[in-house]
């Protein structure tokens, strides 16, 4: 859990449509002021406003105190897009639909929205449909030739792709006997490169 922290936090910035709910006691003014909506001059946000909020905030406000917000599914997980994905998953540009499509969809499931089951099913089917191409691409061609394909993958698929590529590259280096050779670690090489850039920058100032 802790190790994944860096990756997980990045994606949680997804926006979620929200609508504030009535409290059953009637007039219920929220003091959610200028933090959330910079555009309104009014310090309070009234009942019934629609806002875009980050996923972490929406999740928290939706769960504990149900009287604060209600949530709608984001656009890319709704019926329209679900049908597109069901039709042919492998041609869809998932990176455009949100670079963290799978992870965010998984997190949405916790919110218990009415169409959660459909969303989850769609995620699974999309992945199943695209997996074959990813595997093929990563094992048989180099990253540079496949930029078109890679650009259409979302973050988790890209990680998978890179893992496949690493396998391919290691195999190639084994074939060419390069794996026998002891070499400078990539860390040191990167650090050397940065260090070398330093002096030239200073001299140009």
């Amino acid at each position: 859990m802790l190790v994944m922290k860096r990756m997980m936090i990045k994606y949680e910035l997804l926006m979620v449509w929200m609508q504030e709910k009535h409290d059953s006691a009637g007039d219920y003014k929220d003091e959610l002021n200028s933090y959330l909506d910079q555009s309104t001059p009014d310090p309070d946000i009234g009942v019934g406003t629609k806002l875009e909020l980050p996923l972490w905030l929406a999740k928290y406000l939706h769960r504990d105190a149900r009287g604060i917000v209600s949530v709608e599914t984001p656009k890319t997980y709704r019926e329209g897009y679900r049908q597109i994905l069901a039709a042919d998953p492998s041609v869809v540009d998932l990176h455009r639909l949100g670079p963290h499509f799978y992870l965010a969809g998984g997190k949405l499931a916790v919110l218990n929205l009415p169409d959660t089951q459909d969303v989850l099913k769609t995620l699974l089917q999309t992945f199943q449909g695209r997996f074959r191409q990813i595997m093929d691409g990563s094992q048989n061609a180099l990253h540079t030739d496949l930029t078109n394909q890679v650009n259409m993958l979302d973050q988790s698929e890209r990680k998978l792709f890179m893992a496949g590529q690493r396998g391919l590259l290691k195999f190639q280096s084994w074939e060419s006997r390069e794996s026998e050779k002891l070499s400078t670690s990539s860390v040191v090489l990167n650090q050397r490169k940065r260090k070398w850039v330093g002096p030239s920058k200073e001299s140009s100032n």
């Binding site: 802790l2 190790v3 922290k5 860096r6 936090i9 990045k10 910035l13 409290d23 006691a25 219920y28 003014k29 929220d30 003091e31 959610l32 002021n33 933090y35 959330l36 980050p54 972490w56 905030l57 928290y60 406000l61 504990d64 105190a65 009287g67 604060i68 006997r177 390069e178 794996s179 026998e180 050779k181 002891l182 070499s183 400078t184 670690s185 990539s186 860390v187 040191v188 090489l189 990167n190 650090q191 050397r192 940065r194 260090k195």
Partner: protein
Amino acid sequence: MLAEKALDLVRELQRSLDGTLPPYNEDKIRQVLEEMQTLFDQNKDKAQFAAEGQTHLLSAIQLRHAAIRRNKRCLLAYLYNRLDQIKKMRWEYSSVLPSDVKYNMCEQEVQWFNQYNRLLANYMRTLGDNGGLDLTQDMKPPKALYVLVRCLVDHGEFETQDGTTILLKKNSQHYLMRAECENLIRQGILEHIVQ
């Protein structure tokens, strides 16, 4: 927007190239902590009223609390991943770090690194037969006992196990025992030559 700065910290780490540690962003961290403190103080003031029955303040309090938790999580992720990076560096650089890498670490991180070194050394001493096994050696399975190396930079004198001193000048070739020069090869001072 709430918790934006904390997210910046995490993004900064993601952007850094594999293996290089960006400088410890003390400023940003202090700002995030200040933000957390402000939110907490605001909450504390309002909490009193809320307890007396004004329920409409509850949502604002929840919001601020969520923001505080978010900031905390981002901070922890930042710190934890930095330490992870530093841990990996021990296995790349050996127990002494080059000074420009050390420059990017804060005081506590340097201390943590030293303690990790000590821990690792103690552990390695308990393995194996003759007083310990060096785990940072032989990262790839060895093929031969001696290796042919070429020197890439001037490194001065180097004393081998049997006492002979060798002068490591640029482009000079030597036939050395694998165990000794493995460290120098990893650091980029020597280059392994394969036929």
